[in-house]
Assembly symmetry: C2
Homo-oligomer: 439 residues x 2
């Protein structure tokens, strides 16, 4: 049970064996959310916000029972402001649904965690993913939130209806709720920054003799000011899994998947500069793609990484680690981590948002093999501590959820944790909002 | 006295007539700051953090007396990480000092509020300035803060020594302290994101027949994905003042000052696209500059705007308004504001960071003319309410300070203000940190 709660597992089992809520409600408006929250507050019932359940840290498990607020019926896209590059969405709207909706506007929302998560859920976990290196994470792209607090109070974190690109008006409540993982309030609306759809895109794949060479290329590309849109690292094990899963034949070696956005002319220059840098680092020639279909095929390996990893051992489950370190420490931590995996006989192909210093080991394991599960847990903690020792964090984008609370304490130190506990107690004195998570 | 406190005036008078502190201390280390804070805490003495005193909203006035912590003696630049694009600085380090220090690294810190403010003070006010349109504000560029709380406790908002580009580890304390204007704690270190110095820069000036044409050009340039580094608006009155102050001869009309950063090739394209857009909006031909000296001369008009405004009426004082609205509302609010100025016989040339929707009227007035001062105060409040009615904010970058507390309440609504008050009470239960500001 400790292990299940450490790993969350919620993605596959949703409210499975360990932590189902007592009730699920499907409110249709912020007023209903508020009314229901008031009832919970009155009766001291835990409130668990539920977006699309794609979170990887057990965030929607009802560890103390209570009421699950499924917000999928609130699914309107509100107020697209084309000239101002912003939009407001309700919590039932997913990333893909929004981008379909925007198709004819020339605008898009770039933050992409792979899964088709709800945008409010992404705000709640401070999600990011493959193109944060260019467009930022949810922290940089949420302009305002409507939030229902534990007692049913409705607030707007930047003031009702406000959507300026910047503000210095009072404390930054917006970014206090971004990343709060449902422990401070229910997000019932998020106002997001949008971007112009780039005139053109080019994707490329490049193979390297070593992790160091791939990471050095990344640093140099960023240093050269190339506004690269995605730069993703896959290790040899991951590439091998992708080859098997998709019948591909990429060289089994450290690999970068790249994507460039811009005008035709600027793409040309971005690609030239990047090719030069990768060549200087002994990278292979680019395998590259322009049209949407070929780009899709090229990136399919990266997009299916999770499923390719799972397919390595049918019947097994997967848990994704999520450390993030300063760029210069990436080679060391990846090399040490690969040694650790081998030493402990673990399957953990690596995929990383290397431009942010963030990478994942997709730990594939037999949940019925207690010994293996224990080894994975110990490995995961060693990995996190290795990141902490290198000025890093135990979670770059998935959040703390259930399993990383002890690590968070190590990362922040007792005094900062006390401050966080103080904030939590102020906003949710009865500890009803998603209890047992984060702190 | 109400008026003095409304306008702050602190820039020119520092702890002048109305609000000097009882004591000024110059600690040399975080330990000294902490020890002094403990003494203040024990004796219930207000603590007023002081950076370089360039703040425009009376933030350093000691409205309840107390101890001013001047942090200028803590002036070390610590830990430049060239490969990781980050640096840590103490509160005595100003923006210009940091950029001189970085000269040989190929890196720079772009956030530029005009004044040579301390970087920790800029974090405290969530400053931005001319190139936020490309590089973001302090909110996007602070990675970590060391903070001494009211009771002397030392915390690191992202954990001690951590400096990853992103994190989902617990509540975002960093951005709670960014913009807190000294009311939640003393910032004794800030870790900042750095950028590669662009290969080349080009500046340009362009004149328009109307405010609408200038703003339309701005929107279209952003929509076209031009990664413009600065795009500043000056109205006819401001241009006229600059012409007089610097013996220049710009046409007296709405004007955009632009700056492009990038490689030679990308600059070419950025300039071509932008020129096309401005021409379509009946803009004049670009008056443009490549080398540093000519660029400096070209931009001098913009950089000296504050002093040029003051020179319009020798012996007068100036107060800068600071509203920010969604881009599409800029023409309306600027036009209405100019009418309001004329109607009320006020001198208020306009300069704006138009790419962010943020603009300032530099209100030049005779502080001894009570009638004029009252008219300015009334105008300022009307302007803020006009912004609020257009989904905007009463402060895009200067902060709330003393004078905008009532406006903040209108902007946020009573419930969000209550949340802010709750946060303040948790972090500073005795209300010792810069009392009377923000809330
Ligand atoms: C295959 C796969 C790959 C992934 N890759 C990435 C990646 O690259 N980058 C990345 O960042 N993430 C990644 N994720 C994680 C995931 O997509 C995010 O965590 C997502 O942001 C969660 O959104 P959700 O709507 O599914 O939230 P849920 O899973 O429903 O909830 C997650 C947490 O947020 C809270 N929450 C949800 N909605 C709300 C709301 N409206 N108000 C308040 N709290 C709420 C919940 O209580 C819970 O604590 C991946 C997931 C999968 C399955
Ligand atoms: C001519 C001129 C033009 C300007 N243009 C712009 C502009 O374009 N954009 C913009 O954003 N700003 C602008 N400003 C405002 C100014 O530069 C900023 O407000 C600046 O960020 C404040 O920094 P400081 O070190 O001078 O802080 P101070 O003025 O000393 O203090 C400002 C506030 O921050 C608090 N504070 C200062 N240091 C700390 C610390 N270490 N820890 C905790 N709290 C602290 C103080 O208590 C006070 O409340 C301009 C100012 C001038 C004079």
């Amino acid at each position: 049970e400790t292990l299940t709660s450490f790993f969350g597992w919620n993605r596959e089992i949703n409210f499975g064996n360990c932590c189902p809520p007592d009730v699920v409600v499907w409110p249709r408006s912020v007023e209903e959310v508020s009314a229901l929250a008031k009832i919970c507050h009155h009766h001291c019932l835990p409130i668990i916000p539920f977006g699309t359940g794609t979170g990887l840290e057990g965030g929607v498990g009802a560890v103390e029972g209570g009421v699950c607020f499924s917000l999928r019926n609130m699914d309107r896209v509100l107020d697209v402001h084309q000239e101002d590059f912003d939009v407001t969405v309700e919590p039932g709207v997913t990333r893909k649904a929004l981008n379909s909706y925007l198709r004819d506007t020339g605008l898009w929302f770039p933050v992409d965690p792979g899964a088709d998560a709800s945008l409010c859920g992404m705000a709640a976990t401070s999600a990011s993913g493959t193109n944060a290196v260019r467009y930022g994470t949810m922290r940089e792209n949420v302009l305002n939130l409507e939030v229902v607090l534990a007692d049913g109070t409705i607030i707007h974190t930047a003031g009702r209806g406000r959507r300026t690109r910047k503000t210095s008006a009072g404390y930054n409540l917006t970014n206090l709720f971004v990343g709060s993982e449902g422990t401070l309030g229910l997000i019932t609306k998020t106002t997001l920054r949008l971007y112009g759809v780039p005139e053109a895109m080019v994707s490329a794949v490049c193979t390297f003799p070593s992790v160091q060479a791939a990471v050095d290329s990344t640093v140099q590309v960023l240093q050269a000011g190339v506004p690269i849109a995605r730069i993703e690292f896959l290790d040899d094990v991951m590439i091998d899994a992708c080859n098997r899963f998709n019948s591909l034949s990429y060289p089994v070696a450290p690999t970068l998947f790249l994507e460039f956005h811009g005008s035709e002319k600027s793409l040309e220059e971005q690609v030239t500069v990047t090719e030069e840098i990768t060549r200087d680092n002994s990278g292979s020639d680019f395998n590259w793609a322009r049209d949407a279909e070929t780009r899709g095929r090229l990136w399919k390996a990266r997009h299916d990484a999770w499923y390719a990893a799972l397919a390595l051992r049918p019947g097994c489950k997967a848990y994704s680690t999520d450390v993030c370190v300063p760029l210069s420490h990436l080679p060391q931590i990846i090399v040490e981590t690969k040694e650790d995996l081998v030493l402990n006989r673990l399957t953990g192909p690596i995929a990383g948002h290397v431009g942010d210093g963030n990478f994942h080991c997709i730990m594939v394991m037999d949940p019925n093999d207690q010994d293996e599960v224990t080894r994975v847990q110990e490995f995961t903690e060693r990995l996190a501590r290795r990141a902490l020792a290198l000025d890093g964090t135990c979670t770059g984008e998935h959040g703390v959820g259930l399993g990383k609370r002890a690590l968070l304490r190590e990362e922040m130190g007792p005094m900062a944790i006390e401050v966080m506990q103080g904030l939590k107690a102020t906003l949710d004195p009865k500890n009803l909002m998603n209890p047992g998570k984060v702190l």
